[in-house]
């Protein structure tokens, strides 16, 4: 279980996170949504240990992750903006990651490499790839080590419709009950097929935290976007 308790983070005067309390369970697909600047990415970066919260705690299976690093072997992260070292080729970065991260005789998950046909440009340097292609590479790396916790920050932004479908198929194919899956996105239609729980953030606070079924029940709407709009206006 991932327990986030009373998390605060301010960048100078701007309060990015203002007392976040959330508990995420194994087997859930969490959709983290909210307007721009609501603190989604900061929250995920805190979870990754890239950003240090001012106060509060994040615990993974009862032990705090702040100032720890070992827990990251369980995480696969797909960042919002695919920034890669310029000089490296795709295949070189893949080798580096494999070298550092691979456990003995663990099987690498190369499904997305094949599905996105990354072999075609594996000898090109990352700098020369287009934004969407880089995002595909980014996605393939996130899934490569079959992580227990998958953090996907705006995974479908910039992908073409066919790739989005490939990507969604991949997410559906993984054994959810053994994983944590945390996704942020503005494209709600991409989320509604896969997510089981909605966390809506606004101004660094959790506006609501409902399961998909609860949300549909309360609003009587089938479409995620309509359900959220209706829920927000009625509260």
């Amino acid at each position: 279980m991932i327990e986030i308790s009373n998390l605060h983070k301010a960048f100078q005067k701007l309060k990015a996170l203002d007392g976040i309390d959330l508990n995420w369970n194994k087997g859930e697909v969490i959709a983290l949504i909210g307007p721009n600047g609501s603190g989604k990415t900061t929250l995920l970066k805190c979870l990754l240990g890239l950003v240090f919260p001012n106060s509060g705690d994040i615990r993974l299976d009862k032990s705090s992750i702040i100032n720890s690093y070992q827990y990251r072997e369980r995480i696969g992260y797909m960042s919002q903006i695919s920034r890669f070292p310029d000089q490296l080729k795709v295949v070189e970065l893949q080798e580096i990651l494999t070298d550092i991260r691979k456990k003995n005789n663990a099987q690498l998950d190369l499904d997305l490499f094949h599905a996105f046909k990354i072999e075609l440009y594996k000898d090109k340097s990352l700098k020369t790839l287009s934004g969407g292609t880089r995002q595909k590479v980014n996605a393939a790396f996130a899934f490569m080590f079959d992580p227990e916790i998958l953090i996907l920050d705006e995974p479908t932004a910039g992908l073409d419709p066919i790739s989005v479908e490939i990507f969604k198929e991949k997410i559906k194919s993984i054994p959810i009950n053994k994983k944590y899956l945390i996704i942020t996105s503005h494209i709600l239609s991409d989320l509604e097929e896969i997510t089981t729980r909605i966390n809506y953030l606004q101004d660094g606070k959790v506006k609501f935290d409902l399961s998909m079924d609860q949300l549909i029940q309360k609003t009587g709407q089938n479409k995620l976007s309509k359900a959220i709009a209706q829920f927000l206006s009625s509260n």
């Binding site: 960048f11 690093y69 072997e73 960042s79 890669f84 580096i96 550092i100």
Partner: protein, 255 residues
Amino acid sequence: MLKIIKYFLLDILNNKVVLGLSLFFFIVSMSLLYLDENQNKAILSLMNIIFIVVPLISMFFSANYYWNSYEFKEILLCLPLKREKIILSEFIAVSLSISLSILVGLGVPCLIFGAETNIYYLILLAVILNISCVALSMWMVILTKDKSRGLGLVLLMWFYLTMLFDVLLISIMMNFSDYPLEKIVLVLASLNPIDLCRISMMLQLDISALMGYTGALYKEYFSGSGGSILSLSILMLWIIIPVYLFVKKFGQKDI
């Protein structure tokens, strides 16, 4: 950690700056040794160039490289690696590659000309100074938030170490020349690694004047073989303290 050092090193060696640096040092030392009949004089000119150029190169290069490898660090930080290890690896890789270019660029001409031992001492000092400057500049860069501010601070630091410090020191010595200044100057000199190197080299060469701005004034204060050991151990502090500071700072920095 060796793996991470290896990847940083490969990355640095890939962009050919190190090759250019080696070539630069090679040409400078080759021409000085070739043109000057008196090898001691050649070493002096070489020293004056090296103790100004090496800090500039190591500081500027490491500050620039910190930002160039930012994406790579971001990726590494998402892996199960200790933050301290990542930044230490970068530090080791950067200082190792510049040291390598100093060793090759200065060492090869010396071997060709069969130089005396003094020049090898100069090379040793240049390497130590380089490591210290890399550490200092990484600390500056990690302290600041963006690239331009970091580079600005680093250039300011270089300017301070090579010029401002000497001006300050001379003015102190001139204004308080009526008082006994030996101990104070000893302490003040240890506040600048470049001056420490100069003093150390001067003691090695056993000649007083012609030493840049403050050099000549130091001779009377640092005499005996103890001075050399003292200056070398203070130089070590100039490596250890900045390294400790930037490792600690990077451990708490938001990415």
